[in-house]
Symmetry: C2
Subunit: 174 residues, 2 copies
DNA sequence: AAAGATTGAGAAATCAATCTTA
DNA sequence: TAAGATTGATTTCTCAATCTTT
């Protein structure tokens, strides 16, 4: 753990925290992704899209709204939707009111996929995270994340579009 | 925030924590990556490799050791090294003792790059994370991450290779 | 055969350019 | 011109196959 010579690095406590945080991110996502792929045939990205759609009353959303909810670039979402459409999980449909726009509509197969995957995924999230930490730690984790998110919004304010509303990402790809 | 009908989802507190956690991951990494790319011309992945190398006395490491430290698949690392080698940041060299193996050696240009990038990156990490949270929160964050990592090791135990030692990821790609 | 590493093909993410309607 | 969305090219990641040395 030597620092790069002549470079002000984090102190030891911070460094431990930072490395642990980075490690958790990649490893936990990898593990959750692996399990979902095996058990349900969905990637984290697939699942994130399906969850957002399934939360909507009509099982349909405007594409831009979906992009903002996921905080994805619209081109990334578009490619993702194309793949999912080909697999029969969802469909695109035109928007009457604003003919530039489009809807994504959850299909029965997509509905089944997310309903089957969700409980297993929740189980995994509990198993790896919530079962391992106290209620107080959960509260602190939330505070920390929200503090960072607030700080990020600041730096982000006054930049071009693509930045979503305040709502957080869900199914957890990327 | 309605749950998928008939699916046991997380409770509200947990859900807020989980979504905030996922959101922080993607947004913070994206922001740090953007700043590093702009300021130093390095991606998160580039930086992670360079930091690991620069921490070693000889500025050289066995490739497998590096893969384990980063917790990357060896093929991912190999491709990454090829790109970085082409940019003159590092070089590969053969290993006398075990002629199957190889070393990666940091080049002057790579050394310069990491020395220039590190303070800016540390600054950003402070700005977005450590300046926003208390020492107590840092401690709790570390505890949480380590609890999850321990749990992950369990599930991982008894699986095939590729799994690194306990050391955590650093420069923070993926 | 197993360990250390590379390669090439395919999947996914990013970037800039494009297309259509408002 | 700007908003909503798609497309194609490029880059990066992943997976399986391969190559060399032990």
């Amino acid at each position: 753990m030597e620092a790069v010579e002549s470079v002000p690095w984090l102190n030891e406590v911070e460094q431990r925290a930072w490395r642990a945080f980075l490690s958790v991110q990649s490893r936990l996502n990898a593990q959750l992704g692996r399990e979902m792929q095996e058990q349900s045939g969905l990637s984290n990205a697939d699942f994130a899209v399906l969850v957002r759609l399934s939360e909507h009353p009509d099982q349909r959303m405007r594409i831009l709204e979906l992009a903002r909810a996921l905080q994805w670039e619209k081109s990334r979402l578009s490619h993702q939707l194309t793949r999912m459409e080909q697999r029969g999980l969802l469909e695109r449909s035109n928007c009457r009111e604003d003919r530039r726009g489009a809807f994504v509509v959850l299909q029965p197969q997509g509905r089944e996929a997310v309903e089957s995957a969700a409980p297993k995924h929740v189980d995994a999230v509990r198993r790896y995270l919530f079962d391992e930490i106290s209620a107080e730690q959960v509260a602190t984790l939330t505070e920390i994340c929200q503090a960072v998110l607030s700080r990020l919004e600041l730096g982000c304010a006054g930049r071009e579009g693509e930045c979503g509303e305040s709502d957080a990402a869900c199914g957890g790809a990327d």
